[in-house]
Symmetry: C2
Subunit: 317 residues, 2 copies
């Protein structure tokens, strides 16, 4: 059965039924109204972030099932909330698709989002469906964050220490493996929501960004937004177990994947010089934390590796 | 200059500069962060609505300049806030476009949205840009609405009187004129935001929806959501001055355009039997108001006209 067979309202009905499995404490009114209604807690601001996946650009249905695409789509959005220190309230989906798309695939996208939404208390509260020549999934996610608790990429100062959660390179390695050896993409990162909220509660944390474009690119964003420079030690960047060997088997450069791979959705953050170290941070955040560099007054310096310039501005030595 | 020449970040920079001309009292943090931050007033819920325009489906750039498309896109979203009785807080834009799109056109879309945003205190606070084969504009708008003040389409009861603001058919006439005679589409409706908020303050108003799909279709949505029927008197549906003559000159059926035309973004609402009449409502809302029918227990009845069944379920007699 194709979208053309059920029409706009038939699809919306099916999406609404599927969405019922994820409730949300913040939801006053969900799908089926002119606008959804969400209630933040007293003293919370509303964090809003939007991200889009386009078929043929951000995913290929011959490489990745629709449910996995849906999972990745919501993870990317939730990661922006994590980097803001916000808790999820709900999300909207603007689904554009050609009439020939199978209803099963359209619901697959949605169910993948709902899988992730169920894990993180983030219900689907509204959106729209539109006819288009290619599939695109435009998600807007809303979160609540206590006033004065929101993290931002712009507060880093020279001397701050740079930390990252988890490991980097796994997403890029999984993508590369699919491209070279075929098979379905199954890797799906976890948005660091609890860690982000914990960082928001610490006055020593001066800036935070999620690693979506790749570590060097995102550190570049953080540095530019803060008006500072940075120094990154490639050798300290945490990688998955067996990463080097797996890269070599595929003929890939481990540094490139770990430093510029992207879509790992770990948190990169700057901590005041006298703030907690990696051990204390890991305990507070409940995830592995590694110190990987330092904020400097100017210039972007990568030590111990050479990679192609990504977002520009990096000096390799 | 094309999008390919300036890249993702070049385009975002230009959009961010353009967006500065519309500030917003609710905005704590706008474009350039992982998430925007908005602050609703104490005691307000957050209303969220999403709508998408796709090139070739909802607009054609040979018929309509990008700025006009942008205007219409935000109006459609703001109208959903109006039908909810909410005030705008801000909007996000997910812009997907092919690399060959002129930067001027991409900024045209945005500037059209900003024109409307400036009129209604609705700043652009975030979003994303993505490469795609066709242009699509996915907007999510956020509003604030006092708790218990939100309008909904589901509260109508048998005996309620049906009213509509303004006139209907103008948007459909303008579109038809363009299609038949050529020339640019210039008609752009106004979202009835102040009227919606006034309706939200009245306990006698039981249900409200904006007329986006066409009067009979949207009355159908309201009736279904309320679990009731309705009776509509075609002869009482308010039309623009000179409408009949203009329709006849183009060989168009005036009833069809006024009753099923769509995109007029007027408010259709149900008022308790002892509630205010059209005159009192018009004074309160500050816009023309016309009584056009009544809520019944069941069935959808159109009196005084025959039109093609739109959203289904209508009995013509």
């Amino acid at each position: 059965m194709r979208l053309a067979d059920v029409g706009e309202f038939g699809l919306i009905e099916r999406i609404a039924r599927a969405a019922e499995r994820v409730s949300g404490v913040a939801v006053r009114r969900g799908i089926g109204h002119d606008a959804a209604l969400l209630r933040a807690r007293r003293g919370e601001d509303v964090a809003v972030s939007a991200d889009t996946l386009v078929e043929g650009v951000h995913f290929r249905l011959d490489r990745e099932g629709p449910r996995h695409v849906g999972r990745r789509a919501l993870v990317a959005n939730l990661s922006d909330l994590a980097a803001t220190g916000a808790r999820p309230l709900g999300f909207t989906l603007a689904l554009a698709a050609p009439p020939r798309l199978a209803v099963r695939d359209a619901l697959g996208f949605v169910n993948g989002m709902l899988d992730v939404g169920a894990e993180h208390d983030c219900p689907l509260v509204g959106g729209n469906v539109a006819r288009a020549r290619e599939v695109s999934l435009a998600i807007t996610v809303l979160g609540g964050v206590g006033r004065g608790r929101a993290l931002d990429r712009s507060g880093a100062r020279p001397g701050d220490r740079l930390f990252v959660t988890g490991v980097l390179g796994a997403a890029a390695l999984a993508r590369a493996r699919c491209e070279r050896r075929g098979g379905r993409l199954r890797h799906c990162p976890t948005p660091r929501l609890a860690a982000g909220r914990a960082l928001g509660r610490s006055a020593a944390v001066r800036a935070c960004i999620d690693v979506s474009d790749g570590l060097v690119a995102d550190l570049g964003h953080l540095a530019r937004a803060s008006g500072v420079g940075a120094e990154l030690e490639a050798g300290r960047v945490p990688r998955p177990r067996g990463f080097e060997a797996a890269c070599r088997r595929l003929g890939l450069e481990p540094d490139r994947l770990a430093l510029a791979g992207g879509e790992d959705y770990e948190l990169l953050f700057a901590v005041a010089p006298r703030g907690p170290g990696a051990g204390a941070l890991a305990r507070r955040l409940g995830v592995p934390v590694q110190e990987i560099g330092r904020i400097r007054a100017r210039g972007l310096h990568l030590r111990g590796a050479r990679i192609e310039p990504g977002a520009g501005g990096w000096r390799h030595f």
